[in-house]
């Protein structure tokens, strides 16, 4: 279809949607109202299982299957991206040579931020059951934190710290432990993902039973998977090129 025809079809759709949605929004409960029946139940259930962060309680305890599905999506996507970003038939992966020329300040920043982000990530994961954050957020921080090394220009160091196989193991162990904890619940108390671990005290570091354990599992998976994901994009962008292509191996460097 030509562009104008496409826009006409699109706009007709939007007009129809507007006619559909405007009265629907008018019939919604008022914004900020006190009508939250699920909230009342979920808070009570979280308190009963001594999980201070109710969002974590929902994610890992009350609706743990959703999060299992979510982690599966993550696993599938990382594997899918790895599959799609593999070097093609006529491509080779060039090894990076030497260090990039980077401003010392940038480099320093990278080295300073790395431990900070590591600590922040670990903190987010370990306190996910009591404070905002959790395995996913902490894992993201950890996974990206490693890439600060790249910002610091030391790709070799990154390659040493980020052996893909090890991270694949990490991701597999993280994702596998989530499922394994679910099966353990089945074996221990007869229900998949049942909260079978002692619950501890409300607000304590190890409270909420399986919630902190599942948080750690997700943290390991997301940190490793995130590192793999970024490393595939990085390799593709920096070091994959046509076999026998006329470009000099060390020709181009960082931005």
């Amino acid at each position: 279809m030509s562009r104008p025809v496409r826009y006409v079809v699109f706009c007709l759709g939007v007009v129809g949607l507007a006619i559909l949605l405007a009265p629907a929004v008018a019939h919604l409960p008022a914004f900020g109202s006190t009508f939250h029946p699920y909230r009342t139940l979920a808070v009570a259930a979280a308190v009963a299982h001594r999980t201070a962060n109710v969002v974590s309680a929902i994610n890992f305890d009350q609706r743990g299957l959703d999060t299992f599905g979510e982690e599966s999506i993550f696993l599938a996507s990382v594997a899918g991206a790895a599959l799609l970003l593999r070097p093609g038939e006529h491509e080779t992966e060039r090894r990076p040579l030497g260090h990039a020329r980077m401003l010392d300040a940038t480099r320093l920043l990278g080295y300073v931020l790395l431990p900070l982000s590591t600590i922040l990530g670990l903190d987010l994961i370990s306190h996910g059951n009591v404070t905002p954050g959790g395995g996913f957020q902490g894992g993201v921080v950890l996974g990206t934190g490693l890439h600060l090394l790249y910002v610091a220009g030391s790709y070799d160091a990154l390659e040493k710290m980020r052996p893909t196989t090890l991270f694949e193991w990490g991701e597999a162990i993280g994702a596998g432990s989530y499922g394994a904890l679910g099966v353990a619940g089945l074996l221990a108390s007869g229900a998949f993902l049942a909260n079978f671990v002692p619950l501890g005290h409300f607000g304590a570091l190890f409270s909420g039973g399986t919630v902190p354990l599942l948080n750690i599992a997700v943290g390991i998976e997301v940190a490793s998977g995130g590192a793999i994901l970024l490393s595939h994009f990085l390799r593709q962008a920096m070091f994959t090129e046509p076999a026998g292509g006329g470009r000099r191996a060390s020709g181009e460097r960082d931005e």
Partner: protein, 116 residues
């Protein structure tokens, strides 16, 4: 307020979709898709909001939760949604990179590998 927040939610969805429809670059289209998804976050959190309520996190160990909190379920849903967004974006960007290699173009107008 209610009108505004739901309008923004659907506005993001539609403007993101519109961005894909007029896109001349696949990477641009993929980014527009994540704009469309941002609409879902806004909608979900709007549904769960309550005036003068706190976040659904009872940080301090001693205090038993007595105060009102906003709906934590929509937040859990939004969290899942954000993960989905990131992973789908990664996959679609990976495909776009490969399309650029095979077709020497990422303009949807110039891609004609499939039709009819």
């Amino acid at each position: 307020m209610k009108g505004l927040i739901y309008f923004v939610a659907f506005f993001l969805l539609i403007i993101g979709a519109f961005g894909i429809a007029r896109s001349k670059d696949l990477v641009h289209a993929v980014v527009c898709l994540s704009v469309a998804q941002a609409g879902t976050y806004v909608l979900l959190l709007a549904v769960g909001y309550q005036h003068h309520a706190s976040p659904p996190v009872f940080g301090s160990p001693a205090s038993r939760p007595t105060r009102d909190v906003v709906d934590p379920l929509v937040q859990a849903m939004a969290l899942t949604d954000i993960v989905v967004s990131a992973t789908v974006t990664a996959l679609l960007l990976a495909i776009s990179i490969q399309i650029a290699k095979r077709n020497h173009s990422v303009d949807p107008d110039e891609l004609n590998a499939v039709e009819g």
